[in-house]
């Protein structure tokens, strides 16, 4: 449905005397299948919004090619550049960009009213389509309301309806939930996902919120410095991060440096400063290679007292605990390092207690040393 090929976009550096250029998007290629919700996830400045705006046509890339549904929208070599208003893509902006001088109905009708004379639907059809779009987002009761009188969540749904009314082949969503408060954001996350799955919308979704990305997407691309660091299904990216950056950005991880001591198929024995770890991994590492073991805190078990030894069991002492409601976080010192463990709320161990730290195998992923 969407193909982005070797996209490059740079900006001139405005600050200071140096007139250098900053690469915002660095030779990026993605492919999105029909009906798929594809998420670009990354910290601010990673180029995810720039990529989205290039697809929208609001930015002109330096190089590369963009195709949507078999139509070339941009091609630096062929000299093709379709202006944004002729691309026919739907977009939901971070600020919703609801036009304050129009009512709800007019906002949604606008995309149909500005169509060329030939494509413009009849008055009746416009009305039907607007009402259908409003019904989908449950705003049909508020059609005559002034747009500025809507609540944040309603404005968000209005922006969605406005993008839907064109029945676009591709929907672009630029952090659509980030302006909502936490509770509403949770509700809208499910709502948006349900709509996307029900209507079979193909979408590119930009966010810096990993929870949102994991919850909503069919596939997630983690971006860093204009490049894609890793692409995959949410569970895949979470459970098998390909780099320290991904493991750190999605969820929290303990990073433990080590060396591959032995390997048996997909099972590795890693020696670290504080003890030996048995780590399963699909990745390919030679014996003697320097690696990093990323351990998810929620799969680390703590037990008071010193009992047990062997691989994946370390001894330590509780430094701090903090109660977070659903879970209790503990920071445990093991030798000179600290390990963070997340336990269910029944486990709460006071500081200065000696504990046994037991790593479950699903906590681990194996990452090449370095960044």
């Amino acid at each position: 449905m969407l193909q982005v090929t070797n996209l490059v976009k740079s900006f001139s550096e405005a600050k200071g005397m140096s007139r250098g250029r900053v690469l915002a998007v660095d030779d990026l290629s993605i492919e999105v299948a029909e009906g798929e919700l594809f998420t670009l996830l990354g910290p601010s400045g990673c180029g995810k919004t720039t990529t989205l705006r290039c697809i929208a046509g609001l930015e002109t890339p330096d190089r590369g090619r963009i195709d949507v549904a078999g139509r070339t929208l941009f091609d630096s070599e062929g000299g093709v550049r379709v202006p944004p208003n002729e691309r026919g893509l739907g977009m939901v902006f971070q600020s919703y960009a609801i036009w304050p001088h129009m009512n709800v109905y007019k906002n949604v009708a606008f995309p149909l009213e500005v169509l060329g004379r030939k494509q413009r639907p009849s008055r009746k059809e416009t009305r039907d389509r607007v009402e259908r779009a409003l019904a989908v987002v449950k705003l049909d009761q508020l059609a005559q309301r002034q747009a500025t009188d809507l609540s944040g969540g309603q404005q968000q749904r209005l922006a969605l309806a406005r993008a839907l009314v064109m029945e676009p082949p591709l929907m672009l969503l630029d952090e659509p939930l980030s302006n909502l408060d936490a509770k509403l954001r949770d509700d809208m996350r499910f709502e948006l996902k349900r709509l996307q799955r029900e209507l079979g919308i193909t979408g590119v979704y930009v966010t810096h919120d990993q929870v949102e990305a994991l919850a909503m997407s069919n596939r997630v691309a983690v971006m860093r410095d204009g490049k894609i660091e890793q692409v995959g299904a949410p569970r895949e990216v979470y459970e098998r991060p390909g780099s320290k950056f991904v493991a750190d950005f999605i969820g929290t991880s303990n990073f433990i440096d080590g060396v591959v001591e032995a390997r048996e198929g997909a099972s590795y024995r890693i020696s670290t400063e504080h003890g030996v770890l048995d780590v399963p991994s699909d990745a390919d590492f030679a014996v003697g290679a320097a690696v990093v073991v990323a351990a998810r805190p929620e799969h680390i078990e703590l037990a008071p007292g010193v009992n047990g030894s062997g691989p994946n069991v370390w001894l330590g002492r509780i430094e701090v605990r903090s109660f977070l409601g659903e879970v209790v976080d503990h920071v445990v010192s093991v030798g000179s390092r600290e390990v963070r463990a997340r336990c269910n709320s029944k486990v709460s161990i006071p500081p200065q207690t000696d504990v046994t730290v037991r790593f479950h195998q699903e906590a681990f992923s194996l990452i090449p040393a370095g960044d």
Partner: protein
């Protein structure tokens, strides 16, 4: 061959079509007009002044300054402009601090007083003060000063000029300083209080230093204003031959043999001085950003109880209100009811007449003036705002290289005193034969367009900044072309700012005198010129009646503008 040519031709034709789109043509047209308005008159002025018979020459300067007695004139100019600035700064800052930071009563009076320069044109204000402080029959001299046993105050002197100009400028300082005190985070002062500093020290060590950028700005604007003021030097200064730059320029052009080169040389000097002022200000402003306290957040400033100083402070505000507004307006009102002007006595006060008012309407000069002022006001306000809307869009919204040039060009006329612009336009349109607009309303239209372009630009770009970029982008994503999104999204959202700017320009165009006085011709008078002429002819009651009606009309307009301005949050001085 065709097969080879076609693919390369198509993108090129496409590119050409894109280049000649409505958007680019409109933007280009507006940019060219702005550049023409900003550059041509001043360029011409420089050229005419320095080039004589085809080569560079400073003869015009030598002649102009040789004839005038340069020394006294420059000293007078600076004494006048620094003196009036100092007076305005002291009054304006003091009152602003009282209003924003204390619990003094009577605040609405002060805000009403702050619009004085808008509703009382400078020429009327100045004439009213000659009624009040004429050494022989000034109302204040006769009834207050001499009753106190003091010698009469002669308004026809540098101190007199300073007093009148300073009073007229003080509301501007007040507005600038109110804005600055308001935007100051009160917690900065509160933390000084918590550190144990007494109020006096807080004011001197924290408040004033923080207000310094605004204070510098106010000083520079006032000095420049004082230098370019024409009304006070012409109406008050000339009586006793107190010459300054502006009156000299006017005099050079109204001698029996108009001396264009001489006027040009003087105008150039004045232009250099005002440009230096503005340049210095922009440098200061840039440095001031380092300790920016204006965060754009609306703080609700804490007001301090004045205690026993409350009543003296109230008296001060009341005194200012009476002196700055009530006295001049009352004087004009009184003068308008007299058959022949003389200071108020029991006899004149019991023999009032309303005959001057209907008489005004039968006066041909008045009829011309009203018609011309209305035409010029409507036309220049509309043209400026339309131009500014496009230019502001270009500057605020696009990434086009060179857009800052358009921005700077649009603001350039701010540096050019009205009288200098008048001289420049005269030199241009007396020489250029293919645009025979000298002696028509068009030349006044061009003058107003140029002078008010910066104001229009400020209104338009302020409201443009308030329209989120995404509102326009979402229109594009919805399939709207540039023209559609400009017409259906940008313009409707600009309307409040557009209307407020329009009314502002309409109002200030009514009091414009500096350019008009050089550019009008018989039959093409505007209202300010009508007042100027009647003053020259000694028709004091008649001009007072006209003035009172004009003030009434402007009060209504300003009230509308303020209401609109408050709604969109654009509320700035002048």
């Amino acid at each position: 061959m065709v097969a080879v040519a076609e693919p390369s031709l198509q993108p090129r034709a496409q590119a050409l079509r894109r280049l000649l789109s409505a958007r680019n043509l409109i933007v280009l047209g507006v940019s060219v007009v702005i550049a023409y308005l900003a550059l041509v008159p001043i360029g011409f002025l420089v050229w005419q002044t320095f080039v004589r018979d085809g080569h560079l020459s400073v003869a015009a300067f030598r002649d102009a300054y040789g004839a005038v007695g340069l020394g006294t004139m420059v000293v007078n100019s600076f004494a006048f402009s620094f003196g009036s600035s100092a007076l305005a700064i002291v009054i304006g800052t003091l009152l602003a601090h009282l209003i924003v930071r204390s619990d003094v009563p009577g605040k609405p009076l002060m805000y009403a007083a702050s619009v004085v320069p808008l509703i009382i044109p400078g020429i009327l204000h100045t004439i009213a003060w000659t009624f009040l402080l004429d050494p022989r029959n000034g109302i204040l001299n006769l009834n207050v000063i001499e009753k106190l046993g003091l010698p009469a105050f002669n308004v026809y002197s540098i101190p007199g000029m300073i007093l009148v100009e300073g009073l007229h400028l003080s509301p501007l300082v007040f507005l600038l300083m109110v804005a600055s005190f308001r935007s100051m985070d009160p917690s900065l002062e509160e933390s000084a209080v918590m550190s144990g500093a007494p109020m006096r020290k807080v004011f001197l060590r924290v408040t004033l230093p923080l207000a310094r950028p605004a204070l510098y700005a106010a000083i520079l604007i006032m000095v420049v204003r004082g230098l370019e003021s024409f009304e006070v030097p012409a109406v008050i200064g000339l009586r006793n031959h107190v010459w300054v730059f502006t009156s000299r320029i006017y005099d050079a052009l109204h001698a029996l043999n108009p001396d264009y080169a001489g006027a040009g040389a003087l105008a150039m000097s004045l232009l250099v001085l005002t440009s230096l002022g503005v340049w210095w200000h922009s440098r200061l402003a840039r440095r001031a950003r380092a300790f920016q306290t204006v965060t754009g957040k609306g703080f609700r400033p804490r007001t301090m109880p004045l205690g026993r100083w409350k009543w003296p402070a109230t008296a001060l505000i009341l005194l200012y209100f009476v002196v700055a507004i009530v006295l001049p307006l009352l004087t004009l009102g009184y003068a308008s009811t007299q058959g022949f002007y003389s200071p108020p006595t029991h006899y004149t006060l019991t023999h009032l007449t309303g005959a001057n008012y209907p008489a005004v309407f039968h006066d041909d000069l008045f009829k011309h003036a009203v018609k011309n002022s209305l035409i010029l006001g409507v036309a220049s306000a509309t043209a400026v705002m339309l131009m500014a809307a496009v230019a502001a869009w270009l500057v605020v919204r696009t990434q086009l290289p060179g857009r800052w040039i358009v921005d700077n060009l649009a603001f350039m006329p701010l540096v050019v005193p009205g009288l200098v612009l008048g001289v420049a336009l005269l030199t241009v349109y007396l020489r250029i034969k293919f645009l025979p607009i000298y002696g028509t309303l068009w030349i006044l239209f061009i003058a107003y367009l140029t002078r008010y372009m910066p104001y229009g630009m400020r209104y338009a770009s302020t409201s443009m900044f308030q329209i989120g970029r995404e509102l326009e982008e979402s229109a594009q994503m919805s399939g709207a072309g540039w023209f559609q999104s400009f017409r259906r999204i940008v313009l409707p959202l600009l309307v409040p700012g557009f209307v407020a700017g329009w009314i502002y320009i309409f109002v200030v165009s009514f009091r414009e005198l500096g350019s008009s006085v050089l550019l009008y011709s018989p039959g093409r008078e505007v209202l300010s010129i009508a007042i100027w002429q009647e003053w020259n002819d000694g028709l004091l009651p008649q001009l007072s009646a006209l003035g009172v009606m004009l003030v009434g009309f402007l009060v209504v307009l300003v009230a509308i503008a303020y209401r609109l301005g408050a709604r969109i949050g654009v509320r700035e001085g002048h």
